[in-house]
């Protein structure tokens, strides 16, 4: 994926300001920055649910604006701020999305993902009765249904317990290793970002302040941990 000069304004506010970066196959890219930095806005732009004010997005070498359908059928998304129809069972919800993404054979894929996310015992449960962490895992299963080449995750681990969050990160790494899936990931958990991401993009007020591997950033900003680097960068001490 190539992003060039991407800008989004809401009236006077510039939520994403001239952002340029590349995402390579199999790469896990972390986007971090304070509240309101433009992380969610950036992801919405990359998913074609927001129209950019300026700039270009190419995915798989195709212009996102002209090849929306082809691109969206090969990427997916999950976040703490989306959910799923609460009256349907876990399996029914996955069946609906499998059809939406034209996944086949759907039953096998669904069974596989239920196991992978350790929610196979919840398959027949009504979604509305799940805990928020269980719903998060269901949403992740949905996001993996179409074997995406790029997975966009906006604060996906917000409601997961440490054990499941850790398992989820391992799973993402494993899928990346096995399938070459790329991941765009946001989180406010610096330890998580440090551990998971190959490369980080620091956003503040819509601008890219710094980018690089976690190690490179630590060296550059002379921080012992990513958290220290983060504080230095956002407080302008660097």
């Amino acid at each position: 994926m190539e992003v060039r000069g991407l800008t989004k304004r809401f009236g006077d506010l510039t939520a994403v300001d001239d952002v340029t970066f590349d995402l390579f196959p199999g790469e896990i890219l972390g986007i971090l920055g304070p509240n309101g930095a433009g992380k969610t806005t950036l992801i919405q732009l990359l998913l074609h649910v927001l129209t950019p004010t300026a700039g270009r997005i190419y995915v798989f070498g195709l212009d996102l604006d002209r090849h929306r359908e082809a691109i969206l059928s090969r990427v997916n998304f999950s976040s703490a701020y989306v959910s799923m129809p609460s009256s349907l069972t876990v399996r029914e919800n996955l069946q609906v999305f499998a059809r939406l993404y034209q996944v086949s054979p759907a039953p096998e894929r669904i069974a596989h993902l239920l196991k992978l996310l350790e929610i196979d015992d919840l398959a027949a449960k009504i979604t509305g009765t799940l805990s928020s962490g269980q719903i998060t895992r269901l949403c992740l299963a949905k996001a993996l249904l179409n074997e995406p080449r790029i997975l966009f995750l906006d604060e996906p681990t917000a409601s997961l317990d440490p054990d499941i969050a850790d398992k989820t990160r391992r799973l993402l790494r494993r899928l990346r290793d096995e399938t070459g899936m790329a991941v765009v990931y946001t989180s406010h958990n610096m330890k998580e970002m440090e551990e998971l991401c190959d490369r980080l993009l620091f956003l503040s007020k819509g601008r890219v302040l710094a980018s690089g591997t976690p190690t490179a950033l630590r060296d550059r900003f002379r921080g012992g941990t990513l958290e220290e680097v983060y504080l230095k960068v956002v407080r302008g001490e660097a």
Partner: protein, 263 residues
């Protein structure tokens, strides 16, 4: 258009009705109560000395046809609300689903909802009041088609308003069709309206359907003019509603409301 994506959305809503007794009730509750109230009103009116001829048929037929229009509109706008309530809208629109496929699925769903409800009311009207809805014969086809299509047009506009204005516009999902009721001449002929309202009624597709309905019940035939007007107006209504919907959809992608209404 991908059929499988339309079927996926239909499946989602049919699962919902299978699971939710409250929503299933909602399909039958109002038509059933309307039928009872209007049914006994007609029984009473028919007993009065000098009662109007066909009063029962006029009122019961009108009630059933009106409900078809109302369900058709709701099939679209309530289904959109369901996605908003379950914070699912963003999931749908980050998939390859097109807005047109979304609308097509909602239209199909509205046919399912209104035919289920109509089957029940038509049967009950016949059992309780010996009212034969099918006395209108083949004229029912253009009548029903026109009401369903008008319902879609109103439903699409409602959906657009909900996307644009969020919760503030939710109430329209239940109310907007009723704005058309006074000038649709559902329970009385257009001729009883004051002149300026008659003028408006001329441009309401439903008014031509209900005028037609009374003609066919009373005389066994309908002036072709009414059917032609109904079809022509509906064509314009649907075209207008689609243009408005796509316009709003584009502006929603500009303003980023798709994410907000999902919250």
């Amino acid at each position: 258009m991908a059929l499988s994506r339309i079927v996926a959305l239909l499946q989602r809503h049919l699962y919902l009705y299978k699971r939710s007794l409250a929503r299933l009730m909602e399909i039958f509750y109002w038509p059933l109560l309307d039928l009872l109230v209007w049914g006994y009103v007609t029984v009473y009116l028919a007993q009065m000395p000098g009662a109007l001829p066909f009063v029962a048929a006029f009122l019961l037929g009108a009630m059933i046809l009106w409900d078809i229009l109302y369900r058709s509109q709701q099939g679209i706008s309530i289904s959109l609300l369901e996605e908003i309530w379950s914070r699912n809208l963003l999931n749908l629109f980050v998939s390859p689903l097109r807005p047109g496929e979304f609308l097509a699925a909602m239209m199909a769903l509205s046919i399912f909802k209104l035919s289920t409800a109509a089957a029940v009311t038509v049967t009950l009207a016949w059992l309780i009041y010996s009212f034969d809805f099918f006395m209108m014969g083949l004229y029912l086809v253009p009548f029903v088609v026109n009401l369903v299509v008008l319902g879609w047009a109103i439903g699409i506009v409602t959906a657009a308003l909900i996307l644009r204005y969020g919760q503030k516009a939710e109430v329209l999902a239940w109310g907007l069709t009723f704005l058309f009721q006074p000038v649709s001449a559902v329970f009385y002929p257009v001729s009883v309206l004051p002149g300026w309202l008659q003028e408006i009624a001329r441009y309401i597709p439903a008014a031509h359907v209900f005028e037609g309905m009374r003609e066919v019940i009373a005389h066994g035939r309908v002036a072709e003019e009414h059917l032609l007007w109904a079809f022509a107006l509906n064509g314009a209504y649907v075209a207008g509603s689609l243009i408005y919907f796509y316009h709003v959809f584009r502006s929603v992608r500009e303003r980023g409301l798709l994410l907000r209404v999902g919250e």
